[in-house]
């Protein structure tokens, strides 16, 4: 046996493959791949497309359930939401492009995730964006560009942006995280799956012409950013939201047509990935002629056409003989469409250029990159939290004002108002609270949607941090009156070739799996973004959980703000000594230390069941999840959002615990509830039945925020720092 043919290191670097991977390709192919083939394998074997590094762990995630119609592996996950409706949703990262070119990076991130949902035959009804940047003011350019890009794209396409997160931490200064989630609705019987079925059926490329933009984008996303990253700006694509709007509406009209067998988004790795994945899902092959692909530029080679990541393109599998009918439909929307190939049954992806063979590869080889196992080593233990050394809390009011003015906790209004969150006339609970609620038109049903993640908790303990993210997302939905159905996850980590990062990846996945099993919430889609690292500085492990819940009757939705003067305010769930990883420690004491809050998933579930039962019984007026900033910040939010003050007795810790931990600790599994006076006894009975602690805190109303003898602030006093936190 002869040694594998030598290959220039530079050529391998260009396609981001290793020598080992190249040797495997030669071995499995029985020959050396040509340049086009090598490029195609390079993008599909990139971490971004193949999940080769994370795949060994992802199998642990529970993905089944009676209501799951589509788990991971498709363009988006799908759950049955009753009444003949299904909900398709997915989250995806656009971190690297957004670091280089914030506006277009974020805009095309939204465009891409919309197409993933459209490909399932679903109409997008909500966008959420989970954003993380370095501290202000240095990160202002990233923040402004990303927010403008999301708004610029989402507003134009006419899909409301209803939620997300915004967080600032030093570790994201060079590597901001931009994760976009889209939620769509489709009639169960119109659900599409992107398999290239039926030999001889046609492959129709629809939408934008293909240009040289974004070549190697997927490979680029699988490398660290370094000084030369600016030179990769051409690998960032430019969005055209109006074209996407036309594509969206045209596809929606076709969903009911039996001439259309499948729809596939062209995202990372462009045509190569779209055709290979479609063929793989149906166990088929495909033959395409790149000379038939409408071009934006002259002189493009087969290599460039196959690897282009030009935006706003879809691949549609059309029943043979019905091409004209489908094409004339697209023409009505002024969309270009071209038959570029057909489904074959030889299991190969064959690329020709006007009849001349350019590539011929087994589909399996393309879509099944070898799993890559890396060494793992636990990350260094975080700094211990020496509570005894912290000074006592002497002015809770001053600390509260400081926390309300923290960019991590202050008002999101300056961002939210730049997104059209009302278009579509379905937004029943707007962004800014725990979860947004979107009604399903023509029914009594509604969806609650949220995203959650905590890099700080995960830095301190990746497994528990990931569990806390799942629990908080679920709590957000329950606070809005919904039952959690399923989640999509976006795992953002640094360079996995560092053993600590690989260990973090393993821990994060394990944490999500544990929480999902305990709370019975399956993972139906997801995305992994590695190499969020620049010159040795990586992001903290940041799993972002996007979760969807159902309200059978939207009249049962629960707002977060207080609702009426004189309503009783109660705390459901117990408070532990959980200062570790808190925003209080960071803002007031400059510490990121300790262990993240203790989480008992059984107790978490019990509290959810209690709140849902109380809501079903019509006992609640509002519910708000306790999160970063703890009890006092949550109380203040309910006041600020409603314009109703609060008055209650001073809060005193029991059993030698600390006051700061009671007021600002971030113990999970807690809700702030408000109700009319007559509901209190019934709530108390119900809480005992569910074994959930319930404490009466005080009354909503007036224009002061007061804990008697402990703190007294006027609402305008609080509003100043809160509304100005992002400026």
């Amino acid at each position: 046996m002869s040694a594998p043919p030598a290959i220039d290191e530079r050529r391998l670097r260009e396609v981001a493959l290793t020598q080992d991977e190249y040797r495997l390709i030669v071995e499995r192919l029985g020959r050396a791949p040509n340049r086009v083939e090598l490029g195609m394998l390079g993008v599909l074997w990139s971490e971004h497309c193949s999940y080769k590094t994370s795949r060994p762990f992802l199998g642990q995630l529970p993905s089944g359930g009676a209501h799951v119609l589509q788990g991971p592996g498709e363009n988006a996950g799908v759950v049955d939401v009753g009444g003949g409706w299904a909900c398709a949703f997915k989250i995806e990262s656009h971190n690297h492009p957004s670091a280089i070119e914030p506006y277009q990076g974020a805009a095309t991130g939204v465009g891409g995730i919309l197409r993933d949902v459209i490909a399932m035959g679903a109409r997008p009804v909500a966008i959420l964006d989970s954003l993380r940047f370095g501290p202000l003011p240095e990160s202002r350019r990233h923040l402004e560009g990303v927010v403008a890009g999301i708004g610029g794209y989402g507003n134009c396409v006419g899909v409301p942006t209803v939620g997300g997160e915004l967080w600032f931490e030093e570790c994201y200064a060079r590597n901001p995280l931009v994760n976009a989630m889209c939620v769509g609705l489709v009639r169960v019987d119109h659900l599409k799956r992107a398999g290239a079925q039926g030999t001889g059926n046609r492959l129709l490329l629809v939408g934008a012409d293909t240009g040289r933009d974004g070549i190697h984008g997927a490979s680029f996303a699988s490398l660290e950013l370094d000084g030369s990253s600016e030179e990769r700006r051409p690998a960032v694509q430019v969005g055209n939201p109006f074209l996407e709007k036309c594509l969206l509406e045209a596809c929606m009209d076709l969903v009911e047509s039996d001439a259309v067998l499948a729809i596939q988004d062209l995202g990372a790795a462009g045509l190569t990935s779209a055709v290979a994945e479609c063929a793989a899902r149906a166990g088929k092959g495909a033959r395409i002629d790149v000379s038939l692909v409408p071009r934006r530029e002259r002189g493009m080679t087969a290599y460039e056409v196959m690897l282009s990541e030009s935006q706003e393109r879809m691949l549609v599998v059309v029943a043979r003989g019905r091409e004209a009918e489908v094409q004339s439909h697209f023409e009505n929307w002024d969309l270009t469409s071209e038959v570029i190939g057909e489904v074959t049954d030889d299991g190969h992806l064959e690329v020709v250029d006007a009849g001349v063979g350019e590539a011929r590869l087994p589909v399996e080889l393309l879509t099944e990159a070898p799993v890559r196992r890396l060494p793992a080593r636990p990350a260094a233990a975080p700094a211990r939290l020496e509570l005894a050394r912290l000074p006592d809390l002497d002015d809770p009011g001053a600390v509260l004002l400081k926390l309300l003015g923290s960019p991590n906790l202050g008002s999101r209004r300056p961002v939210i108002r730049r997104y059209d969150h009302m278009v579509g006339d379905a937004t029943l609970i707007p962004p800014g609270g725990d979860a947004a609620v979107i009604r399903i038109k023509g029914t009594r049903r509604a969806l609650a949607v949220t995203t959650d993640g905590s890099g700080r908790y995960c830095r301190l303990d990746p497994q528990r941090g990931a569990q806390l993210a799942v629990a908080e997302a679920a709590r957000n939905l329950v606070a809005a009156g919904a039952r959690p159905l399923a989640l999509t996850d976006c795992l953002n980590l640094a360079n996995p070739e560092r053993p600590e990062v690989y260990w973090q990846l393993e821990q994060v996945v394990a944490g999500i799996a544990v929480a999902c099993r305990a709370l019975e919430i399956p993972v139906v889609s997801g995305n992994v973004s590695l190499y969020n690292e620049s010159e040795g500085v990586g992001v903290w492990p940041t799993p972002v959980i996007g979760m969807v819940g159902l309200l059978e009757d939207y009249e049962k939705r629960l707002p977060a703000p207080f609702q009426a003067d004189g309503d009783f305010v109660l705390l459901a769930g117990g408070t532990g000594d959980d200062l570790g990883g808190s925003e209080y420690l960071k803002v007031v004491h400059g510490l990121v230390a300790g262990a993240p809050p203790e989480l008992d998933l059984k107790r978490e579930l019990a509290v959810h069941e209690f709140v849902r039962a109380a809501n079903a019984g019509g006992l609640l007026r509002s519910a708000h999840d306790l999160a970063e900033g703890g009890l006092l910040v949550a109380l203040a939010e309910c006041s600020l959002w409603s314009g109703l003050g609060f008055r209650g007795p001073a809060l005193r810790p029991e059993g030698g615990r600390r006051l700061d931990s009671l007021l600002f600790g971030e113990s999970p599994s807690r809700f702030l509830l408000s109700c009319g006076s007559r509901a209190v006894p019934e709530l108390q009975t119900l809480s005992r039945r569910h074994h959930v602690e319930l404490q009466l805190l005080g009354l909503a109303g007036g224009d002061q925020f007061e804990l008697e003898g402990q703190l007294r602030l006027s609402l305008p006093e609080m509003r100043g720092p809160y509304e100005g936190a992002l400026t």
Binding site: A148, G151, N155, C156, G158, N240, P241, F242, L243, K245, I416, R417, R418, Y419, D420, H421, M422, V423, D425, T427, L428, P430, R439, K441, G442, Y554
Partner: protein, 215 residues
């Protein structure tokens, strides 16, 4: 909204259509026609259907432009002035208060003069502009229909969300049959969506059409 909430017959008109299909009122809704890449409404006004809209307006038919529709009507010359980029240079999606200055129109017949409406805006280019002569003509003729105000009905600079001259939120043509407004009444026609003030305008149109039919 028009069909489900108002329970009126709704006909979608495609931009390439050349007939209004017997409509009693033509609504140019919000959206981003042609992506607003050039200038808001600048391309949409050349749509084939617009010729019918001109004729219809000329004959006294009710034409109602909301948000991007208002921008199209200005570009088309059916309404005076223009809508510039918001003075904040940012998109704004938020609730606003409007003072009704004309309650005698087909669009506002169910409102009272000086009544306060709470209706959301959602736009990046909603800053109403007209040259001084046009503006004073609009004011003299009473063509300003809605003005942004604070929750107490005071027309102040702070209550102006986009830098519109004279806090203009909506105007009507001289004849009173072509209305343009930046706020979105269709977004607040059901209590679930946070308010029903917008429904008043839609009901006014229906009522006025009924009067025409029974007259």
């Amino acid at each position: 909204m028009v069909d489900q909430v108002l329970e009126q017959e709704l006909r979608y008109l495609w931009h390439k259509d050349r007939s209004l299909k017997g409509s009693d009122c033509v609504i140019l809704p919000g959206g981003f026609s042609y992506g607003d890449y050039l200038r808001t409404g600048a391309i949409a006004r050349f749509s084939p259907i617009m010729e019918q809209v001109y004729d219809f307006a000329e004959r006294g038919g009710l034409v109602w432009g909301i948000c991007n529709g208002f921008q199209v009507l200005c570009e088309a010359g059916l309404l005076p002035g223009a809508l510039l980029r918001n003075s904040t240079l940012e998109f704004r999606c938020q609730w606003t208060h409007l003072v009704v200055e004309r309650a005698d129109l087909a669009f506002t017949g169910l409102c009272q003069r000086s009544e306060l409406l709470r209706i959301p805006i959602s736009h990046g280019e909603g800053s109403y502009f007209a040259d001084p002569a046009t503006l004073s003509r609009l004011e003299q003729n009473g063509q300003v229909v809605f003005r942004y105000s604070d929750p107490d009905g005071r027309v102040t600079a702070e209550a102006n969300p986009n830098g519109s001259l004279h806090n203009v939120a909506g105007i009507v043509n001289r004849r009173g049959n072509v209305l343009g407004m930046m706020p979105h009444p269709e977004r607040c026609a059901e209590a679930e969506l946070g308010g029903t003030d917008g429904l008043k305008l839609f009901r006014s149109v229906v009522e006025s059409a009924m009067r025409v039919l029974t007259a």
